[in-house]
């Protein structure tokens, strides 16, 4: 049976493990430690929230989200940054259950929506999101500036 619950500080070790699995799956570098999650997620002003998904009591995945802001709507929204389901538990509707959970949270907290990103070659996911009625902003692409390049631009600030 599926259960979705808010993560707490005592889940930090499990979360680090799940995040590392997810990063391995996406072949992306990862450097997060328990101390980072404890400091940023479970202090007085958390920078993010996490859900832990369990199937018959076993951890099967997680979701991480934070509040973003839509200036056009004049309202905050949920930004779903990570969603991960362990391979053995896929095809059971867990992803849809997590999205529904977040959508319900957004409605309850009077937030204007749930926003996330998808890889453009992941057509099954895109089809799935479209069936849910999600809008694809197909012409919006993402830029990221970090490290020395960010420092260089910062130095040029008037």
């Amino acid at each position: 049976m599926l259960s979705i619950r808010q993560a707490s500080a005592s889940d930090a070790a499990l979360l680090v493990q799940l995040i590392h699995e997810f990063a391995e799956f996406e072949r992306l570098p990862v450097r997060v430690r328990e101390g980072d999650l404890l400091r940023d997620g479970f202090g007085p002003q958390p920078k993010f929230h996490m859900l832990i998904v369990e199937w018959d009591g076993a951890p099967t995945g997680y979701a991480m989200f934070f509040e973003c802001y839509s200036s056009f709507e004049g309202s905050a929204a949920i930004y779903l940054e990570d969603i991960y389901v362990r391979p053995a538990y896929r095809g059971k509707g867990i992803g849809k259950a997590v999205l529904a959970h977040l959508a319900a949270m957004a409605v309850k907290q009077n937030l204007c929506g749930v926003r996330w990103q998808v890889l453009d070659w992941n057509t099954p996911a895109i089809d799935f999101y479209q069936k849910l009625g999600a809008e694809m902003w197909a012409d919006r692409r993402v830029f990221s500036l970090h490290g020395e390049a960010m420092a260089r631009l910062a130095e040029s600030a008037a």
Partner: protein, 164 residues
């Protein structure tokens, strides 16, 4: 002369106007419902949900930037998400857009954020080339998705309110 300053609560009417101008430029004016009260409540209360900068050229309002915090679990650190950046048409080509970007990068650097992130329209090749020159990484295979309105209600398993 260019002056970039942090927006204050007294700028709420101005920010509302600038947001509507950006929406009109992006042809999303019909979907734009932000009010001064929204801006005051969400930007200038005890726990602001965003921060904004106002750019002035010789004392006249030339543009704005609006950003908020995001988080990377892989990095275990927060970044800045630049949601809006807008320069009024009559003030373009004077480096104001770049100066606004640079100011947000300076905030990120000084406040120890690991990254700044933003979105660009994929047909806007001059902008894409411009950002690449700064060493920004173009995550070209990601698309943005938004669940909003009736679809949000439906996904939440909640009855949609009757349309008016």
């Amino acid at each position: 002369m260019l002056n970039i300053r942090a927006a204050a609560a007294s700028d709420a009417p101005l920010l509302k106007t600038l947001i509507h101008e950006l929406a009109e430029y992006e042809r999303l004016a019909h979907e734009t419902i932000v009010t001064e009260d929204d801006i005051l409540r969400d930007g200038f209360g005890p726990h602001p949900k965003f921060r904004a900068l106002i750019a002035e050229w010789n004392g006249q309002t030339a543009g704005y930037a609006l950003y908020f915090d995001f988080y990377s679990t892989f990095q275990g650190r927060a970044g800045l998400f630049l949601e809006d950046i807008f320069v009024r048409p009559e003030f373009r080509k004077q480096g104001i857009g770049k100066a606004l970007f640079a100011r947000v990068a300076a905030v990120a650097w000084e406040e120890d954020y690991f990254c700044m992130r933003w979105e660009v329209l994929d047909w806007n090749t001059p902008a894409i080339d411009f950002y690449r020159q700064w060493g920004a990484e173009f995550l070209s295979d990601w698309k943005a998705v938004m669940l909003i309105g009736d679809a949000l209600q439906a996904a939440a398993g909640v009855e949609s309110p009757t349309a008016e």
